[in-house]
């Protein structure tokens, strides 16, 4: 879904907007919904804006949930949305560990 002209109407608050969806970064359903109404129709963009899925679990817990909130607002089924791009490191890894990369093997 990349068509930003696509009109999904006006944002209106919902009773469960306070529900936390991404636990690691404490991002609520309302914040994700608002991002969608601001024109972010895919997981990567929402992730860049809100950091959901970028915490300790790296989206293992919330990935599906974020996806279903976004899909629900645009009126798509969750499988129609692309997953977030997968990148190294797959598990949270401190930079000092990367700095000690062993390269001579």
């Amino acid at each position: 879904m990349t068509d930003r002209q696509y009109i999904i109407g006006e944002f209106s608050p919902a009773s469960d907007d306070d529900l936390i969806i991404c636990r690691c970064e404490e991002i609520t359903k309302g914040e994700i919904r608002r991002a969608v109404f601001d024109g972010m129709f895919n997981i990567c963009e929402v992730r860049r804006l809100l950091r959901c899925g970028m915490g300790l679990c790296q989206g293992l817990t919330c990935g599906r949930l974020v996806k279903s909130v976004i899909a629900g607002e645009i009126g798509l089924s969750a499988t129609a949305l692309e997953d977030a791009t997968a990148r190294a490191p797959m598990r949270p890894t401190e930079m000092f560990i990367f700095a000690k990369e062993v390269t001579d093997e």
Binding site: D16, L19, I20, I21, R23, K29, L60, T61, G63, R64, L65, T79, A80, D83, T85, A86, R87, A88, P89, M90, R91, T93, F96, I97, F98, K100, E101, V102, T103, E105
Partner: protein
């Protein structure tokens, strides 16, 4: 460092792949992020279904020990505490080890990273006390910590049912199992094990909210209609300190995605028959390529490994054909029956043999007395004999293989077991202990062995403490309702019984076909 084959994930799929490849002469390394190998297997303290070749009636943990002995003896190198943080299509991986990252290369890679648990957001879901069923299982069976005292389980698939039973074994109280679906998702035999101990099922119910300020102190569930909409005024409240979610698993396929494998919409990699992905010599096996079971994961791992061995020239085309033929046959056996992937959404009306499937079993978790008399394993009568309450077509047959007297027939792996009355059951109890569904009972009214007018009923009893012999107690029926006083006449424990103690209790004769559980009073 480089290898012929690298396997990512040391669960049942990964370890089986490694063993198979090493047996064909490949130099193999396995990487797992955990401190202990085995993946899910070491949490599975229950007996597995299937047939001999699928290691049926063995507990997951014992299958794991066997697999590790196999990989050890074949010289497989297992790197633990080694999360793989990157996978690239030139078959290179990046691994975090201690405070460094290292690179490894191989001619072939099998990704066997398993799956992660789905969670469900609801009011209060971030409170301590809400956890995945798998997490509760890890706490109990790996870390030996009781997850809570009073638990509600959401989800009635096999994971919810198995973990529910293990919660009881750990001494927790399971107040209910709820599921939004209108029928129990897992095997009827698993559900019945819980129901007869008194655990109620709430089908067409979902969770409304968890209560509590600092941690869970209660839960509210409510009924939903066919369109999953909440029906007002159907709320039920339970005091609990733990809520377990068993609402499905998602393949952990991120590494494959990162490498650039073609993915299908459901999040699994697109694979050929041997598990090879769209990338040359990169395979996927086990839950990562589609959620199934440990039994099938092990075979998938071996199929991929055999294919890798062939592609690298370690085995000939001909021996590959032979080996993969055997493995394919074993796999397709497991994928039969009414719970097989291809039948997941089919209505459950009749068994293959044409028997009605118990509606009560699907909704309430037990078979009614009227329904049970229909099945071929249920033949009440005099003397000592097995009563087999296994009524759905599931891939399982150890009851047939274990009986030394040939009393139990199972035509093909998914057929309902039949008790053959023209045989001489000795009452050895092997079938009772072997049945992974705990669905076989013995009834005995032999004069001289059992008092006149009474019947002795033998049940599998995997709880501690074991009953006191001749202690007072109560017999319970299939629904978990108390029936009548009953005393324990015998307790059997032996290595032959695969660590399933048998408890025999005595009740009046008219209770023979009703009493299915015993509790101390």
């Amino acid at each position: 460092m480089s290898f012929d084959l690298m396997v990512i994930g040391a669960g049942p799929a990964g370890l089986s792949a490694a063993a198979e490849a090493a047996s064909h002469g490949l130099k193999v390394a396995v990487f797992d992020e955990n401190a202990l190998p085995g993946g899910q297997l070491f949490k599975q303290i229950h007996k597995f279904f299937g047939s001999k070749e699928h290691k049926a009636k063995m507990r997951g943990i014992d299958i794991g020990i066997e697999l590790l002995e196999e990989t050890d003896s074949l010289g497989v190198k297992v790197f633990l505490n080694s999360p793989v943080v990157g996978l690239y299509k030139n078959r290179e991986i990046v691994v975090r080890q201690k405070e460094t990252v290292r690179h490894f290369k191989a001619d072939s890679i099998i990704v066997a990273t398993g799956a992660s648990e789905n969670l469900l957001p609801f009011d209060g879901w971030t409170l301590p006390g809400v956890m995945g069923a798998g997490a509760a299982q890890t706490m109990m069976n790996i870390n030996r910590v009781k997850p809570g005292n009073r638990v509600l389980m959401l989800g009635s698939g096999n994971v919810g049912l198995v973990v529910g039973f293990q919660l009881l074994q750990a001494g927790c109280e399971l107040v209910a199992i709820a599921d939004a679906a209108p029928r129990i998702g897992g095997y009827g035999v698993h559900a019945s094990k819980l129901t007869r101990t008194g655990v109620p099922f709430y089908l067409s119910h979902t969770i409304m909210r968890a209560e509590g300020r600092e941690n869970v102190t209660g839960v509210v569930i409510g009924q939903v209609d066919e369109n999953w909409q909440h029906i007002p005024d159907t709320e039920k409240h339970f005091e609990v300190d733990t809520i377990c979610l068993a609402v499905g698993l998602s393949p952990s396929a991120q590494l494959l995605k990162m490498a650039g494998c073609k993915m299908s919409q459901n999040g699994t990699p697109v694979c050929d028959k041997s598990g090879e992905t769209s990338l040359y010599n990169i395979f996927a096996a086990g839950d990562v390529s589609g959620i199934e079971e440990a039994s099938s994961a092990m075979i998938e791992g071996r199929i991929s490994a055999a294919a890798a061995a062939k592609k690298l020239g370690f085995i000939s085309e001909k021996s590959f054909q032979k080996r993969s033929g055997e493995l394919d046959a074993a796999l397709s056996e497991l994928r039969q029956g009414m719970f097989a992937p291809q039948n997941r959404n089919a209505p459950l009306e009749k068994t293959d043999e044409g028997f009605n499937i118990s509606k009560s079993l699907l909704k309430k978790g037990y078979i009614t007395e009227e329904e049970i008399s229909e099945y071929p394993g249920f033949k009440p009568g005099a003397g000592i004999r097995p009563v087999i309450e296994c009524t759905q077509n599931i891939p399982c047959d150890p009851c047939r293989d274990i009986c030394p007297k040939g009393c139990i027939k199972v035509e093909n792996i998914v057929s309902l077991p039949v008790y053959d009355e023209n045989t001489n059951c000795t009452g050895c109890g092997l079938c009772v202990a072997a049945c992974p569904g705990q669905a076989i009972f013995l009834t005995d009214d032999r004069p001289g062995k059992v008092e006149e007018g009474k019947v002795a009923i033998t049940i599998p009893y995997e709880f501690l403490p074991l009953p006191e012999k001749v202690g007072p107690g109560m017999a319970y029926d299939r629904s978990g309702a108390p029936l009548c006083p009953a005393y324990v006449s015998k307790i059997q424990e032996s290595a032959f019984l695969g660590k399933t103690p048998l408890v025999t209790f005595v009740v009046p004769k008219n209770m023979a076909m009703r009493a299915r559980f015993w509790k101390a009073v």
